[in-house]
């Protein structure tokens, strides 16, 4: 009896030890890291043959490969690039951040940058950024997204992606529209889409969008509201203003387009992966489209800023910001990559040469842009664009089933009069 009791007590002690050990272990591996100031880094960084790791998400794979190849060819440091599927990127970064395993450099969708800066995932590079001669020329939207409430800077632009109005000139001509003239208002946009639809060509639609893709809708519909002189978020990013008159006009226009049958039917369940495919294949007359796909569009397409309700033009200055991770012990070498990224060699000889938008205003009018006036248009509209900043942006807008998606689907597909209530649901999340 005594033995049994003693044995039971032993087992209890062993179990308690095991449990407490496990919990202590768990607590130990769960600590969040604070950003470490990257002090004592030379202005040009260090190029000593170190191998750096870099993560980016799949939509920017082409540009990331070009940049990394060019850097590796001209520097002793070598960058190893990892491209992560878009949907898995946040989870991968989160898991790595929790375990102290972030790469030296990583890019983040610019709308997530404020939150990730707030969480301390990037090192403070204020001193280095302030030391750049061209600092005032760097895209201010990306810089401010990476600046925390204390004014410390953490990211530079990696690749800029702008939303633009693209139209298929051949279909415009067939529909009796001027192929050299962009629709200047939302009404003209709708009119052009309906005229192309009226051609009755098999498999050809007036326009397309991603009605089950919060990120696509943010990227392409916010600029129409900005171009109309309205805002989408309050200054502090805690309130949604997506029930204003201009926003409602945008939803009504798309509701009308949807009911008229001028929208590619698969737009209804388009969650993102193929939202531009219809236009790229030449089966869509006009749509709001990412500027990074300019070089991948195989036919003559016109490019303009996204029009407002009564005119004007704007764009969503998206893409990714890049910074040195909190876990990197090679900050001086990583800064060498970042300072090169802002150089003319990278911006013009890599990005502009491959029909991508540059991140520096002073390099917008470059030799490659001069060969293609559409690039000049994109660079000009970039100056009129905006980047919304909110800590809970992903949850409110980009996540599957976000309240923003509900707002759009209710307004456009269902035709319910719930914009105000749905806008309140977005505010509820932004205010958390």
């Amino acid at each position: 009896m005594t033995n049994t009791r003693r044995r039971a007590a032993g087992w209890r002690a062993a179990t308690a030890l095991l449990l407490s050990g496990a919990l202590m272990g768990l607590a130990g591996c769960a600590g969040g890291g604070a950003a470490t100031p990257a002090e004592d880094i030379p202005a040009e960084g260090t190029d000593d043959g170190t191998t750096l790791t870099l993560w980016t998400r799949a939509p920017l794979e082409k540009q990331a490969n070009l940049l990394v190849d060019a850097y590796n060819a001209s520097h002793e440091n070598q960058v190893e690039l990892t491209v992560v599927p878009n949907d898995d990127y946040v989870a991968k970064v989160g898991a790595a951040a929790g375990s102290g395993g972030l790469p030296d450099l990583f890019a983040a969708d610019i709308v997530y940058v404020p939150n990730w800066v707030e969480q301390g995932l990037f090192q403070d590079i204020s001193a280095q950024v302030d030391g750049l001669d061209e600092k005032d020329q760097i895209n201010q939207g990306h810089l401010s997204a990476g600046t925390d409430t204390d004014g410390k800077e953490h990211v530079l632009p990696f690749v800029l992606d702008l939303s633009m109005l693209f139209w298929n000139k051949e279909l415009f001509e067939e529909a009796g529209l001027d192929p050299e003239k962009a629709p200047a208002t939302m009404a003209e946009y709708a009119d052009a889409a309906k005229k192309i639809q009226a051609l009755g060509k098999d498999g050809v639609y007036g326009t397309a969008t991603g009605l089950n893709c919060g990120g696509c809708l943010v990227f392409t519909w916010f600029p129409g509201i900005w171009a109309s002189g309205e805002e989408v978020l309050s200054d502090d990013g805690h309130e949604s203003l997506l029930a204003n008159d201009a926003a409602k006009e945008v939803y009504d226009t798309w509701r009308d387009l949807w009911e008229s049958g001028a929208v590619l039917p698969s737009s209804q369940d388009e969650a993102g992966p193929t939202w531009t495919a219809g236009f790229t294949e030449g089966n869509v007359g006009l749509m709001f489209y990412p500027a990074t796909l300019l070089s991948s569009t195989p036919f003559d397409a016109g490019v303009a800023g996204i029009p407002g309700v009564d005119g004007g033009a704007s764009t969503f200055v998206g893409g990714d910001g890049i910074g040195i991770s909190k876990d990197s012990e090679k900050a001086a070498q990583a800064w060498n990559f970042l300072t090169w990224l802002m150089s003319e060699d990278a911006q013009v000889e890599v990005l502009a040469k491959n029909n991508d938008v540059v991140s520096r205003a002073d390099l917008a009018d470059n030799e490659y842009a001069a060969k293609d006036p559409r690039l000049v248009t994109i660079n000009e509209v970039a100056a009129q664009g905006d980047t919304p900043v909110a800590l809970n942006f992903q949850q409110a807008f980009n996540a599957p089933g976000s309240p923003w998606l509900e707002l759009v689907r209710n307004a456009v597909l269902e035709g319910t009069d719930t914009v105000d209530a749905d806008n309140d649901a977005i505010t509820e999340i932004l205010a958390q």
Partner: protein, 310 residues
Amino acid sequence: MSAETLSPPTSPPTAPSPPHRASRARREALRGWLYASPTTLFVVFVFLLPLLLVLHMSASDWPLLSGNQGWNLPENYVDAVDHRLFWDAIWFTLKYTVITTILLIGLGLGLALLVQESTRWKSLLRTSFLVPSALGLASASLLFYVLYSPYAGPFADLMQSWGFTFLGTPEGALWSTVFLIVWRYAGFYMLLMLVGLQAIPDDVYEAARIDGASAWQTFRGITLPLLRPTFALTIVLCVTGSLLAFEQFYILTKGGPDNSTMTIVQLIYNVAFQGQNDLGIAAALSVIVLLALIVINIFQLRAFRRTDED
């Protein structure tokens, strides 16, 4: 009275003394634990520790990007139940479970009877029904994603001209996913049913035939009652699998459109990695699902045990 006179004369002269017996028992116990230790370690590291981790997370304020911020009870559980999609996800998961369970058990039994009766095409039919089960669920989901795609799928042109999308409406998304699951699992459930059918002794059917029972009477009076243990197994498997459905929805619908195909596990994933990025609330949801599964399984097994006893 001496000790010798007390000892029975038949007792073996080499009987071990009590201390020896105790040490041998200890040695045997130790040997037993040594044999069991690999499994014990496996259970501890693969089941027990992850379970403890989830319990610990469910009690902690644990944002994905910044790690454990300390205890957060009972807020995590309150937030989990208060989540705007919690009850919708539960309702959809139950609806999906009922549909797939009825279809898979019914179809599995039907296919099993078919391949049992058919003599000429038996092997071909069995193989063709079972082949989809060899494909991983994620691979099968990707395959159907392409088949359903309005761009790459074989019906793309037809779909566009008809204005039809497989995954574009709540009903379309549900039934497109159910079709995938039925295609993927019907053969597997056929196999389980076939094992059950073949365990029924032939002489029972022989006796029924001699008594003049019709095919329907034989099916209702013999096959169905004697398949009860197989039904118990298949229903438990099907219900548990459907309540934990994730891959097919993650790949095909991502819970949409309009959150209409949001299963409880998809919701857990979304809370952890898509938007809210809160591992604490996601873990609390996981614990709730775990408890619900335990309760449901207990009820199921008790119900079948009772019918067995009847």
